[in-house]
């Protein structure tokens, strides 16, 4: 029973005749708490990324406003809010207005099933992880709509890239999740966390790597940041956005990063579990570790080309994810539960072997087209 359900039952006992209130109040409380958490953490993430990236690039990063520049995101937010809202004259005005909403709302909805503690979860759905996959795909529609409604060629290229990229990378991502689900024996996020006495990234390293790379593509992060490719298509789908609408994309992007960091922490790093500190601190720490890795990659690697991106998904990640899935299914079926460590060792060897084999046999290639 989650904390909110307990709260609802308690309200029902003290408010006889007002049972509907016992449903409304906990829902509002839950939404407010989650919104507060997400927006605060997004601000922390924005500040953290800029500072960390500054360190990677031998500079300081924002350091003027407040201690260590912690108020810089607030200054940025104020600046963005004061900007004029420009709508392209020949764009689709309704879609142009709707697109940031479609991008931002699903991001918030993901947090409904993220477990912050043993019983601290907004909705303990028995299909939690399926819900996450389904909801997070919706923002693609928003990005596509933004690119289309802007009536800008750069934005259109970006929108088309988005669809191709998301469809391709969702497959290996889901196959990696299936491996986790097989081992946990449940689709519920709380059950997945509860079953991780040994975090799953040790037991299925290949699945973890595939999921992480798929996540980078889902988040449009380097080296898969083709839709915002600054040096090619300038800013991609949000090139025609300014003011609060741009801020929605910005928040959505970091909210998405936060959501996926939390989900990686939940699926592979043991979620809220950990000694001494309160559960939510553990989740935040793990999410920050994941996010730091994402920033590190952003600060180091160049970008892939669009055909190479596709090749990497379909020829690289997808076959590996399928092999990984069958391997884990076989292990879950035949290995006894007490031999988990053997399973981890076998999977580590498998991961190393497969990655080595692919790096030797597989080239990203691609190239010139006759025109």
């Amino acid at each position: 029973m989650t904390l909110l359900e307990q709260f609802r039952l308690w309200l029902a006992t003290i408010l006889p005749g007002w049972e509907w209130l016992a449903y409304v109040v906990p829902a509002i409380v839950g939404i407010v708490v989650i919104l507060g958490f997400v927006l605060t953490m997004v601000i922390v993430f924005i500040w953290y990324e800029r500072r960390l990236l500054g360190r990677f690039q031998i500079r300081l990063g924002p350091n003027r406003l407040g201690p260590e520049g912690v108020f810089q995101p607030i200054a940025t937010a104020v600046k963005i809010l004061l900007k004029e809202d420009v709508v392209p004259e020949k764009g689709d005005k309704v879609l142009h207005w709707l697109a940031p909403v479609i991008v931002f709302v699903p991001v918030l909805m993901i947090f409904a099933v993220v477990p912050f503690g043993e019983r601290a979860i907004l909705a303990d759905l028995n299909v939690g992880i399926v819900y996450v996959v389904a909801i997070s795909s919706i923002s693609v529609v928003g990005i596509y709509a933004a690119g289309w409604a802007s009536n800008n060629k750069y934005a259109l290229i970006s929108a088309l890239r988005t669809v191709a990229q998301m469809v391709s990378y969702e497959l290996p991502l889901i196959l990696a999740i299936v491996g986790v689900v097989l081992m946990a024996g449940s689709l519920s996020m709380t059950q997945i966390v509860a079953s991780q006495d040994i975090p799953f990234f040790i037991l299925q390293p290949l699945g973890f790597v595939i999921f992480f790379l798929g996540t980078l593509a889902e988040l449009n992060r380097c080296p898969f940041d083709l839709l915002e490719a600054d040096s090619e298509i300038v800013a991609g789908y949000h090139i025609e956005y300014s003011g609060m609408k741009f801020a929605m994309f910005y928040l959505g992007e970091y909210g998405h990063a936060l959501a996926y960091s939390c989900i990686i922490a939940t699926l592979f790093l043991g979620g809220w579990q950990g000694p001494l500190l309160p559960p939510i601190m553990w989740l935040v720490i793990k999410a920050l570790v994941v996010f730091s890795t994402i920033v590190w990659i952003r600060g180091t690697l160049p970008r892939l080309r669009v055909d190479q991106l596709m090749a990497f998904a379909w020829k690289g990640l997808l076959p590996m994810a399928i092999i990984n899935l069958f391997m884990i299914a076989a292990e879950v079926l035949w290995l006894p539960e007490t031999m988990l460590w053997i399973m981890g060792a076998v999977n580590l060897i498998l991961a190393a072997g497969l990655i080595l084999m692919w790096s030797k046999l597989f080239t990203l290639g691609g190239g010139r087209v006759e025109v």
Binding site: I157, D230, S231, E232, T300, P302, L304, R305, V369
Partner: protein, 367 residues
């Protein structure tokens, strides 16, 4: 059933993060594939060639700073060499050495910028650039010691250089020369074997050897295509025949080779700097040259190996104090003529990368 599609025109520039200035590419795209490219130049035209005809030979030196503003010192060098050739002026030996030291420092600084922004075009957002800037910053500090400027130096004079180096210059330069190879190692360690960089640049934007020769390409762009042509070796000017260095040559002519050639050239420049520092003699730095120089009537073409290629100055004198004709051969404008052949059929991302690997400077193209 085939869907009817049609190519569309995309304006890359004049305001675009990857045009390295104000340059416009009118690109016809079929989806992501480049069908046609039409470069549009002239957004930075200042009429330097015409302006120079109304000014004395010495007054024209600052104009050359504004050509390739990432390598001002070499522009000075090319111009004063041409004038000295025209007026047959002997330059003191110490000045020759100082000029070579400045030119090679400038080559390193220019190549650092070229490689850094090339990586930026590849999508490694800012990190390589900022690491390259760390070293370029040291070079700019050195230039500031010598002439008080960090971008437009106006250091060389007809008959020498404007002033001798200050005493703190040589120790600082020696420190830089000693450190630089380890920094180049660091760049190569980060970049040269990077899987994504290899995938994005190997075999991309190939400029074949014969095409490179036919369009009169020069500099790293030509050498990456496998032509061993470096004016420092082919037609030694100043005192380059006294130094021992190699000319790195690529073999395919793709973006990676252009990147690699620049990386190796920095190592060779460090070698030249080492030798020049050892041999640096004392003495005067400025020959006795009349304030209002009147070269004998005639014409001259002086060329040097600038960081971006063969930079030439064609001067015609009518025995007055100003040149009758002042023509610049900018290396990057001529290299850029190959762009169309190199990018057709590639993706739009390759277009940006190939353009970045040409290392153009718009100050020089539009002049």
């Amino acid at each position: 059933m085939a869907i009817r599609t049609e190519p569309f025109i995309l304006n890359v520039g004049p305001q675009h993060p990857s045009t390295h200035g104000v340059f416009r590419l009118r690109v016809t795209l079929d989806g992501e594939v480049v069908v046609d490219v039409e470069p549009v130049v002239g957004y930075l035209h200042r009429g330097i060639e015409k302006l120079a005809e109304g000014r004395t030979y010495t007054q024209n030196i600052p104009f050359t700073d504004r050509l390739d503003y990432l390598a001002s010192m070499t522009n000075n060098f090319a111009y004063v060499l041409a004038v000295e050739k025209l007026a047959q002026i002997e330059v003191p030996e110490r000045a020759e050495y100082l000029r070579i030291i400045m030119a090679e420092m400038m080559r390193i600084a220019s190549h650092l910028m070229a490689i850094g922004f090339f990586l930026n075009d590849l999508g490694a957002m800012m990190t390589p650039v900022l690491y390259m800037w760390r070293e370029r910053e040291k070079l700019l500090d050195l230039f500031e010691m010598v002439c008080g400027q960090r971008l437009t130096y106006n250091y060389m004079r007809i008959g020498g250089v404007s002033q001798d180096i200050p005493e703190e210059f040589l120790p600082a330069l020696k420190k830089f020369v000693a450190e630089m190879p380890t920094f180049i190692d660091e760049y190569e360690w980060l970049l040269s074997q990077n899987e994504i960089l290899l995938a994005r640049t190997k075999g991309v934007g190939i400029l074949p050897r014969d095409v490179a020769i036919n369009i009169a390409a020069s500099g790293p762009v030509l050498r990456a295509s496998g032509v061993k042509w470096d004016i420092r070796k082919a037609d030694p000017y100043s005192i380059y025949d006294r130094f021992d260095f190699e000319v790195p040559v690529g073999n395919v002519g793709d973006c990676y080779d252009r990147y690699w050639v620049r990386m190796q050239e920095m190592r060779q420049s460090v070698r030249i700097l080492e030798q020049a520092l050892e041999q640096l003699p004392g003495g005067e730095v400025y020959a006795k040259v009349p304030q209002l120089l009147r070269p004998p009537a005639g014409e001259v073409y002086g060329h040097i190996e600038a960081p971006k290629g063969e930079l030439g100055f064609y001067l015609v004198s009518d025995n007055s104090i100003a040149p009758y004709r002042f023509h610049i051969r900018p290396p990057t404008l001529i290299n850029l003529t190959a762009l169309k052949d190199m990018v057709i059929g590639w993706k739009v991302a390759d277009l940006i990368v190939t353009f970045g690997s040409m290392d153009v400077c718009l100050g020089e193209i539009d002049r």
